[in-house]
Amino acid sequence: MTSLSDIPVIQTPPEAPARGGNPLANVFDDFIRYCRSRSLFMLHYCTGCGAIELPPAMTSRFDMERIGIQPMVTPRQADILLVTGYVSVKTLKRIILTYEQMASPKYVIGICSCTVNGGMYWQSYATAKKLNDYLPVDLYIAGCMPRPEAVIEGLKALRDNIEAGTSDNWKDYYQRYDHYLGNQQRLFGADWQTPTEVIAEAKHYGLFGPDTLGEHTRRLEDHRKPLEPLRMTLNAGRLEHME
């Protein structure tokens, strides 16, 4: 069980000047990070009632584009997953799929009190109470519902965190995948599987952590149908018999 204080505030050690102590070695990385913080695409997905305050934040009155934020339609393009309010179990599955489909670095913002602790639906059988059990949350914006100014403040805080390099929770999802998967399995049943291959991705990008694998991922291996990408194959063996 995670608690708010457990939400790992990743202490990213400032990239060690591994490149021979060159003071300019990190300039490029800093620049990329700066661009990341200045260009945030948020997913256009109204998961709950807090989404009603996003249009005002986006449109003429508060104009999110001022700070480089624009809505994007599919998870592939988005950087920020805004979980706007209560998440019913059915939605939670979609949110997890969506999150896994997003390209890292990706950030989760829990808007509204419901994402923090279930809010006023604390005794509802249908809504998940604690978002950070299932996804690594970067930022909570509490309130029911937070005003557009609060949303924008929150996004600005996220922006500053990204610029400072302290918003690396997406790595946590790879590094402690077993933990998140365990919570997901507890809620959705042991045969839960998304079409995204988080473990393979973690291997591919060198994001493997000590807790990426564990008892829950072993359980996943037992039943899962591997969804390996369709490799281009020539099947040269079948090309024989050339007369």
């Binding site: 069980m1 608690s3 059915k90 005794q123 059988y125 919570n183 049943g189």
Partner: protein, 192 residues
């Protein structure tokens, strides 16, 4: 007005057996109907009484009586009156007839009641799940389903213990709930 409609309605429902009429309010008429008589009554109301609008079908659970009460709210655009027809069906096996062939909106409400209460409507176009498609618990709206227990079994709670609360608690204050009364959060924590 009330009496007019009341009389008229009384006359109309005289044609169906097992209907009891209780006018209460200018625009709200209550009918208590024997389950067998309901389809005939609705057909009569829709066909002869211009009650073309099925506003809702509500289901009420009466576990002590072992019954479900089904309430059909129908509205007439011409008489500007809402008639609620109440029937009671046994909780077990919880089956009733669909009125989809009389009122098309019934499909939604019947499917909903089926999901939430487990009442099966014969002849309804679809009894598939709609809202609770990924739910494997019992029908949640039944009175015996305890939502809070379900929540405690399935979800964790945010453990919010800031320093200031710890301070207060260390001084003997804090939230005044005895440990055995705590329904969530710390209880789960202590058990685990």
């Amino acid at each position: 007005m009330t009496t007019d409609i009341g009389q008229w309605l009384g006359h109309l429902i005289g044609q169906v057996e097992g209907v009891q009429h209780r006018g209460r309010h200018a625009r709200r008429q209550r009918l208590d109907v024997a389950p067998d008589a309901l389809p005939a009554l609705l057909e009569l109301l829709q066909g002869k009484g211009s009650f073309v609008h099925l506003s809702a079908i509500s289901c009420v659970d009466w576990p002590e009586d072992g019954q479900f009460e089904l309430v059909y709210h129908v509205w007439s655009y011409e008489l500007k009156t809402l008639v609620s027809a109440h029937i009671r069906i046994p909780r077990e096996p919880g089956r009733y007839l669909s009125v989809y062939d009389i009122y098309k909106p019934a499909a939604f409400f019947e499917r909903d009641i089926h999901e939430m209460y487990g009442v099966f409507f014969e002849g309804s176009p679809s009894m598939e799940k709609f809202i609770l498609t990924e739910w494997d618990g019992p029908p949640p709206m039944r009175k015996e389903f305890d939502s809070e227990n379900w929540v405690n079994d399935h979800f964790d709670w945010q453990d919010y213990h800031p320093d200031w609360l710890n301070d207060i608690e260390s001084r003997g204050g804090g939230i005044a709930i005895r440990p055995d009364e705590q329904r969530f959060s710390r209880k789960a924590k202590h058990e685990s």
